[in-house]
Every structure is written in structure tokens, then in C-alpha cells.
């Protein structure tokens, strides 16, 4: 392959392997009409008018866009023929793995290569820390989890592969031996978040994670569960201090006090599959002569994928260690979190390394995707909320979260901390004690599925709050208004809540909505008609920018005025590519001719370096590292729904702004013959583009675009801060008393409106499914009560009278 500046930029060297990334482009099927396949170059581009999306044409014409669409013949310079691979996975994680029975694979069905754990040990692969655990289950060991790969079978052509998979479909392939029970391992993470506020709102906290540091229990019982108690032992004093305050809070919640109402509840959420429609797939080719590995994958975290494959092969023997890895990232990478830090690219790379010279495709079918794809964590949540009856305000809150995390750690520590920090939702309490533990299990690995941690914790919380309002009793919106965390107050970690959250205005909007105002009348009407009517309200917020989020972008204009954008985020279907094109157009006057996503090399020329863990690095270390102007806390992060199109496009918008402010605007002033002392020279923010022409504030003058290039990195890294955004919802549900069938639903939401980066029509999403195909809304999650429900109020008033 020829390398140009655009498609070959040396990214970094890891273990002596040069990494680079390329944009998949101009793939055409043999004997098929030549056509453009990627956004930004269509003759008819609706996004140019601001009305459509830049990837619209390729998606309605079936052009090659997804990783699963590409075969070797589509890629310039690759061999024409594609080989195919399949993973054999464990179906039992309580017995030892004792070998494979592939006797059904005879004749043409015989695989060309079989790769097992022993082969990986032989060539000297390493497992990246994030995916710690055997990539393949070794012989005589119990699989770590259901679905753990046992072997990789590679077939030279599709026909052999297809016959083999049919032959193995209903066969017992994996042989098991001694029963061992599930493999016992220590938790992936365990934290305690305890906060005791000072005596006044302005006073410093008595104790908080921000003030005193994050703590973990550090002591585990025989079943590897943490011991949360404050133990009389000399070690772990930091934890003991938190546990001491925590136990005091729990004692206060358990105390007999008729002036207070305490509700104690247990919730369970289930593990769920992200259910993205395109199963994971990838294509790889190892040219042993040139020691060059080419990869085609579609992931949400391209930087991690490139780094992880390099680490995997970095210490391999000479035959299996590439000198260069070039990764092609497909335009579509999103999968609701299910393609974020997935180990799948590791297996794609291994397939190529074990059949050198032949491009090999590895693709999950739906069964395999269910069997192995990253899942959402199931949570067990035990909650206690205490409210002062007179004021209706929360005086203390305690919760214990247990995450069922599956076979590999993945993002489980982060999910645990995010869920814990979200446990009190939009509310404020002066005393909070939350424990959380992420436990390994033999289930499929759970990771960062959309809204991770927050979704489980806040849904359970809102259910609890509804019960609390009924038990007090207190109007649900009024309860939320009284208890909502306000700017200037502190979150449960002790961070100051300093954004413009506008929760109270959201609650006002919900209160004024007809669904809420007319709820009593609707209920009365329903009663007469035999219809059960329920109306509810919920309000939640989501933190963002609190992890290792960053945004990379490069924006260029060539002498012909063509605009090219490269950003490191990947398209998740939400229209990120369209949003970035529109945001850049606002400054440069035209929709980009080329938009390239998943470009993790946008800052290659700057040779940025990073060090430390961006989640745990302390301020002193960070300050010292930052003395190197090329140091950044993180070079590229996975695309996340919680940061969304705004963060993902911000660096590009800023780059475009710089080009405009310091390139186009001075040029325009020059053409308009506006001198530097003219007041209008400072009014660059009031200039407007129209039909590719820039109009000066007054008098009218015009300038064409000129050449310019700018790259920006947007970094948000502040260990002592939090950003949140609130969202509220009122909903009415109608059910026929006799048939128990659901009837119409009514719902309305409210959220602060910022600047729109995508056309309004593009925002209507899954909730609309209920209106049309309620039975097809397969994203329904269930949060249910489980276990005993105890009301610790001794005066047996409202809660007991109402049968709670």
C-alpha cells in the first residue's frame, strides 16, 4: 500500500512495533459499479443544506461502511481471497476443560490452523492489563467464564468455514472433566463513599472522599467478599475512618425516631446485552515478508484497540511479532458501549498472525454475540433513605451496591464508582454512606454499556423516592424540589456542585405539564371506564467529563476551499459525523468535503506523550508531568454517549474557530479593506456565512475561504470537580383493569436546552418506539424490588397504612 500523509501517520512505537491508522476508503466490489463508499464525497449531500446527515446516502444505498462489510478484495493492495475463522467458546465454567472433539471436521471441513492457549504461550503473547485473564482457556483449567474462548479455528476459504460451522452447530465440541465449581477470584474493585457535611452549608465537610481520599476495604472473607466493618486492626486506618463515619450514619438511620421516616429497600437489575444490530467482526492480514499487520475493525475505542494489539504481540517471537501494525477503523464503531474496550480485535489479530499471508475474517453471528459480547452489569442495590417528616428533607442515605461483573474486569471498577456516585441522583443529603463492590462471576463480561452504573442506581432511587413521597406523604415534585442538590452544595463525594444544573426549573416545567396537572382527572375518568391510570414523575442527572474524556480534531482547508475534518471519536449512529460537519460549517461557511472519524492520529505530528492513570493520578504528579508541553493526561478516549456529540465535536469546532479568527477573518478584513483600527475589525463574532460567502457586520463585504489548518485537543481533567446535566420526565400509563393490557401512554420530558449541534428531527429516539410498537421496544429494563422491605419508622403511620 502506498502511504500518504493522510493514510499513514506514525502514531507511536510500543515494544518496537510502529503503529499507524488508516481510513477505510474507496472500497469497491469487483465487477460492481464504482461508487464512493464513505461520507463527505457524494454528489448529493443533504447535509450541505443543513437538513440531512452526512452518512445518509451511503446508508440508504447499502455502500460498504461497517467493519463487517469489508473483505480482502475490497481493500487496495490486499490479496484477493479472504479466509475465515471461528472461535470455540466454553459452555461450562464449573468443570475443567479437557480438550476438543473436532472429529466432525473431516475432509474439506478441516481447519487450516487451530490456535489454543498453548500456542499463545509458545509464541510469547501478552495479555493487555485491561483484559487480564487467559485469552484462551488452558487445558485442564476451569474456564473463567461462560463463553471464554477455547480455540480459534481458521479455514482457508468460506466454503470450508461454512460447512464446518454447520457441522459443529449442534455438536458437543468441548470436553469437560472434573467438577470444580466456578473459579473464585477477588473483587475487581470495592469502594466506600462516605460523606459527613459540616455544621453549616459553608463549612468544610467533616469527612468526604474529596477531602480524605478514596478508600477501599482491603480485607476480604473466604468467599472473596469485602469485609465492610471497621475492624480493630492496625492496617487500613484510612478505610477504618470512613467505616466509622459510615457505621454512625447507618446507626442513625436504624434509630427509633418518630419524627423521621426511614425506608429500606432491595432492588435488583438484570444483566443485559447492548443488542447492537451489527455483530462484532474484523478482518486482518499479516504480511510476514514485510512483517506488516493490517487490521480492519469497528470499535468504539480505536486508540485502545491499536494499543492493545501492539501490546499483545510486543514480546512475541520473531515469527509472530510484526514490525508495523496498521489499523483501519470502520466509520461505524458504536455499539451502545458494547464495542468499547472489547477484546474482539485481539482475536482478529491472532487469526492473521497464525495464518500469515492470508487475510482472515472473524465475525460473530448473533448467537456468538450474545455468548460473548460485553454486557450491562446487573446490580443488587440495598438502600436506606431517611427523611425528616417535618421538613420533608433527606437527613441521611446509605446504600450497598453489588455488581455482577462477569468473567473479565473490563470497566467494572469504573462502573462501580459511577454507580455509587450516582446513588443519590439529583438529591442532597448531609450524611451519605455507600459501599460498592464489583464481583467476578462466571457470566459473560460486563462493561460500559450506555449509561453504566447511573442507569441502575438512579432508576432504583427514583422508585424509592416515589414510595417515600407516598409514605410521608408529600407531593413527588415538591419532595424533589426540596431535596434537589443545588449549585454550591456538595455531591456525595464532597465535590462542589458548581454547574448550572437547573433542576428546579425542570421540575417547574414538569409540574406545569398537562400530564401532571390533569392526573387526578385522568384517574377519575379511568376509574369510570375500568382503566387503571398511573402518573409518575422522575428526575435524574448524568455526570460527564469526569473520567479520562478528551477530544481530538484536525480541521483543514485546501487552496480550493475544500474542508476536511478528522476527529478521534467514532460514529455510534447518533449523527456525530453530521454534528461535527455542522459545527465546523458554522465557522468556515460550508459542510466539510471529507469527514473522517476514529482518527486517533490527529495529533501525531505533535508527538504527544502521556503517563500515569488518568483516573487515579494525583494533582502533584499531574502538575510535574505537565511541565513537559507535550504531556497530556490522555491522548484519545473512547467515544461515550454521556459526553455525546457536544464533547466529541468540540475540538473540531474550536479548531475551526481558530482558523476563522486568525486566518479567514484577517484575510476577509484585508479583502474588505477594513483596517485594524476600524471598529468592525474586532467584530469577528458577528460575521455570518451565507451560501459560502462571508458577510461583514456592516457595510456588506465578502471574502472567500482561504487555506488553513488547525488541530485542537479539548481536555477536561479536573480531579476535584464534577459536571452534571439534569433531565426530567412525567409519564402516564393506562391499563385495562379486566384484560390487564396496556393502553395508551403519555409522556413528556424536560431538559435544559443548549446549542443544538444536530437538526432537531434527529433527536427523536427510542422512547418513540412505545408509541408505535410497544412490543418491539426491546430495550426495556426491569428494576424490581427483591427481598424484605422494611419500614424502620416506629410510629407506623403513612407507610404502613398504605401497605408499603
Amino acid at each position: 500500500m502506498s502511504a500518504s500523509r493522510r493514510d499513514f501517520v506514525k502514531l507511536l512505537t510500543s515494544s518496537g512495533i510502529a503503529l499507524s491508522v488508516s481510513r477505510l476508503a474507496l472500497a469497491e466490489e469487483p465487477d460492481f459499479a464504482a461508487r464512493e463508499t464513505l461520507p463527505g464525497r457524494q454528489n448529493w449531500n443533504p447535509a450541505a443544506t443543513g437538513a440531512g446527515r452526512i452518512d445518509g446516502v451511503v446508508k440508504v444505498t447499502g455502500s460498504k461502511l461497517y467493519a463487517g462489510d469489508f473483505r480482502a478484495a475490497d481493500l487496495p493492495g490486499w490479496p484477493a481471497k479472504t479466509s475465515h475463522a471461528m472461535l470455540i467458546r466454553a459452555t461450562d465454567a464449573t468443570h475443567t476443560y479437557d480438550g476438543l472433539d473436532l472429529s466432525r471436521l473431516t475432509g474439506a471441513m478441516k481447519p487450516a490452523v487451530i490456535v489454543t492457549a498453548e500456542d499463545l504461550a509458545r509464541i510469547g503473547t501478552r495479555v493487555p492489563g485491561f483484559y487480564a485473564g487467559d485469552l484462551f482457556c488452558p487445558l485442564r483449567k476451569t474456564p473463567l467464564y461462560l463463553g471464554q474462548p477455547i480455540a480459534l479455528l481458521i479455514f482457508e476459504d468460506f466454503d470450508a468455514f461454512d460447512q464446518a460451522r454447520l457441522a459443529l452447530r449442534d455438536a458437543t465440541i468441548v470436553k469437560y472433566g472434573e467438577e470444580t465449581g466456578p473459579v473464585t477470584r477477588p473483587p475487581y474493585a470495592a469502594f466506600r463513599f462516605t460523606r459527613v457535611a459540616g455544621p453549616t452549608p459553608d463549612a468544610p465537610d467533616v469527612y468526604s472522599p474529596v477531602k480524605n481520599g478514596w478508600v477501599s476495604p482491603g480485607v476480604f472473607n473466604e468467599s472473596q467478599h469485602p469485609v465492610w466493618a471497621r475492624l480493630p486492626i492496625p492496617t487500613g486506618l484510612d478505610y477504618a475512618e470512613a467505616a466509622g463515619y459510615g457505621e454512625d450514619i447507618r446507626a442513625e438511620l436504624a434509630a427509633d425516631n418518630p419524627a423521621r421516616l426511614v425506608l429500606e429497600r432491595q432492588f435488583e437489575t438484570q444483566s443485559a446485552d447492548p443488542m447492537f444490530l451489527e455483530p462484532e467482526s474484523g478482518l486482518a492480514w499479516y504480511d510476514a515478508g514485510r512483517k506488516n499487520l493490517e487490521l480492519v475493525v469497528g470499535v468504539q475505542s480505536p486508540y485502545d484497540a491499536a494499543e492493545s494489539v501492539a501490546f499483545l504481540l510486543g514480546e512475541a517471537d520473531a515469527t509472530h511479532k510484526p514490525a508495523r501494525i496498521n489499523t483501519h477503523f470502520a466509520y461505524m464503531g458504536g455499539g451502545f458501549g458494547g464495542r468499547d474496550h472489547t477484546p474482539f480485535p485481539l482475536y482478529v489479530a491472532l487469526a492473521a498472525m497464525f495464518l500469515p499471508g492470508r487475510p482472515v475474517r472473524l465475525a460473530n453471528n448473533r448467537y456468538e454475540q450474545f455468548q460473548s459480547g460485553i454486557k450491562r452489569h446487573g446490580f443488587s442495590i440495598h438502600t436506606r433513605m431517611g427523611v425528616d417528616r417535618a421538613t420533608g428533607k433527606i437527613f441521611a442515605f446509605a446504600a450497598d451496591h453489588v455488581l455482577h461483573a462477569g468473567g473479565l474486569m473490563n470497566f467494572s471498577p469504573h462502573v462501580a464508582s459511577v454507580g455509587a456516585v450516582a446513588a443519590l441522583g439529583i438529591y442532597y443529603a448531609p450524611k451519605v454512606d455507600i459501599t460498592t463492590v464489583s464481583l467476578p462471576s462466571r457470566a459473560v463480561t460486563a462493561g460500559s454499556m450506555r449509561g453504566y452504573g447511573t442507569l441502575q442506581a438512579m432508576t432504583a432511587l427514583e422508585v424509592l423516592v416515589d414510595e417515600m413521597c407516598t409514605a410521608l406523604p408529600l407531593d413527588p415534585i415538591e419532595f424533589r424540589r426540596r431535596n434537589a442538590l443545588k449549585p454550591g452544595e456538595r455531591t456525595i463525594t464532597g465535590n462542589t456542585y458548581d454547574d448550572s444544573i437547573r433542576t428546579s426549573e425542570i421540575l417547574d416545567k414538569l409540574e406545569q405539564h398537562a400530564i401532571w396537572r390533569e392526573r387526578a382527572a385522568e384517574k377519575a375518568r379511568g376509574k369510570e371506564a375500568g382503566i387503571l391510570v398511573g402518573t409518575g414523575v422522575a428526575c435524574a442527572h448524568k455526570n460527564y467529563g469526569t473520567g479520562a474524556d478528551c477530544s481530538l480534531a484536525a480541521v483543514e482547508i485546501d487552496p480550493q476551499g475544500r474542508i476536511a475534518i478528522r476527529i478521534d471519536d467514532t460514529e455510534m449512529g447518533t449523527g456525530l459525523g453530521t454534528a461535527v460537519a455542522n459545527r465546523v460549517a458554522a465557522y468556515l461557511g460550508g459542510v466539510a468535503d471529507e469527514v473522517a472519524l476514529a482518527q486517533i492520529d490527529a495529533f501525531g505530528p505533535l508527538a504527544l506523550v502521556k503517563s500515569g492513570d488518568p483516573y487515579t493520578i494525583d494533582q502533584k504528579t499531574q502538575d510535574a508531568a505537565a511541565r513537559n508541553p507535550r504531556w497530556v493526561p490522555e491522548i484519545s478516549s473512547a467515544t461515550a454517549a454521556s459526553t455525546g456529540a457536544h464533547v466529541g465535536t468540540h475540538a473540531a469546532a474550536e479548531a475551526a474557530r481558530v482558523i476563522f479568527r486568525f486566518g479567514l477573518w484577517p484575510a476577509a478584513l484585508d479583502l474588505w479593506r477594513i483596517g485594524p483600527k476600524d471598529l468592525r475589525a474586532a467584530q469577528w463574532q458577528t460575521a455570518r456565512w451565507s451560501d459560502g460567502q462571508l458577510t461583514a457586520p456592516a457595510p456588506a463585504a465578502r471574502a472567500r475561504r482561504r487555506r488553513g489548518t488547525c488541530a485542537c485537543e479539548e481536555r477536561r481533567h479536573r480531579r476535584d470537580g464534577s459536571w452534571f446535566q439534569s433531565l426530567g420526565l412525567v409519564a402516564g400509563r393506562f391499563q385495562d383493569r379486566r384484560t390487564k393490557l396496556d393502553g395508551r401512554h403519555r409522556r413528556a420530558g424536560a431538559a435544559p436546552r443548549g446549542r443544538q449541534v444536530r437538526p432537531p428531527r434527529s433527536h427523536r429516539r427510542q422512547v418513540s418506539a412505545d408509541r408505535l410498537h410497544p412490543d418491539r421496544h426491546h430495550l426495556h429494563d426491569e428494576v424490581r424490588h427483591a427481598g424484605p422491605r422494611r419500614d424502620q419508622s416506629r410510629n407506623r403511620s403513612a407507610a404502613h397504612r398504605q401497605g408499603l
Partner: protein
């Protein structure tokens, strides 16, 4: 083995010998490179793999391809998502899908497009009252799974195409 002859988007392919177990989805994607027809569930439940089958009498229907053998399409004429645009011009449905932001990831789009096209052609032959339109569209698109957008924008896109030419589609 079957000697397969099939017309796809007006072009005749074959006659190759294909195994009887080979699915039409694999024939399209692995042998012809027509990857616009997607593989989603492998169980004919999501219908992202649906193609249009044209009968000799001028009627058409959609068929999943992920579980249907290629051999069963022998002698048939089908249309895939790659065949909707003519001479570089998108069909009215394709434009409507884009205009309505009907999809996000787009993996289900081929199936919805084919199903909607069959509906339009059916309505052009047998118009329905306006009062039955919503139900007609919902029933036609029922069964197609969309993970991202929630269906309604597909529904509205099809409705707008029909309402833009009521004399053709409505009684």
C-alpha cells in the same frame, strides 16, 4: 448442490453451483460482495437481511435471506438495497429516509427500505383509504427491528411519501 441462476437488481448471476445449505445472505455477502444486505440475527427475526422478491405477475414480497438457502431463489428475480437508486439518483423513499433521520446506525435500513418499497408498489396497485394508512404502514413495517431510532421516523418517512402523492396511493 444446485445450479443457481438468479437475477439481482436486473442483472443475472450464474449459473454457479452452490451448496444446498448455503444461505442467500452468505451468497450475497461472501460470493457477490453485495454487503448492503445485512446479517443481523441469523434467525429471520430482525429482517435487516430482507430483500425484495419480484413475482412474474408483477407483485413483490420481501424475504429474509439469513436462514433461507440461496438455492430457493433459483430462477427468481430479487432487488437489494443496492438497486434502489437509478442513474445516480436516489429513490423518493431513500430521500425520505434521509430527510426524516429515519435511522441512526443504519444497519436495519436496507430491510426497512425494501419493505417500504414493496408497500408503495402494493398501494399503487391497490389504494387504501386515508383512515387506514397508519395501520397499513405499521403492519407493513412490523417485524423489522431497529435498535437505535424507535421506528417512528421510518413510519413517518413512508407516510410522507404516500401523502405527497395521495392520488396514487390513497382512495
Amino acid at each position: 448442490m444446485t445450479t443457481l441462476s438468479v437475477t439481482i437488481n436486473g442483472r443475472t448471476y450464474g449459473p454457479p453451483e452452490v451448496r444446498d445449505e448455503l444461505t442467500m445472505n452468505d451468497y450475497l455477502r461472501e460470493y457477490l460482495g453485495l454487503t448492503g444486505t445485512k446479517f443481523g440475527c441469523g434467525a429471520a427475526q430482525c429482517l435487516s437481511c430482507a430483500v425484495i422478491v419480484d413475482n412474474h405477475d408483477g407483485t413483490s414480497y420481501t424475504s429474509p435471506t439469513c436462514i433461507v438457502p440461496a438455492a430457493s431463489f433459483n430462477g427468481k428475480s430479487i432487488r437489494t438495497v443496492e438497486g434502489h437508486a437509478k442513474n445516480g439518483e436516489l429513490s423518493i423513499l431513500q430521500k425520505a429516509f434521509i430527510d426524516h433521520f429515519a435511522f441512526q446506525c443504519g444497519y436495519c435500513t436496507a430491510g426497512f427500505l425494501n419493505e417500504s418499497q414493496v408497500l408503495l408498489e402494493r398501494l399503487a396497485k391497490r389504494r387504501v383509504p386515508r383512515a387506514e394508512l397508519e395501520k397499513t404502514i405499521a403492519e407493513a413495517l412490523d417485524g423489522h427491528l431497529c435498535r437505535c431510532t424507535g421506528y417512528i421516523k421510518y413510519h413517518e418517512a413512508v407516510r410522507d411519501v404516500i401523502l405527497a402523492d395521495p392520488q396514487r396511493y390513497l382512495v
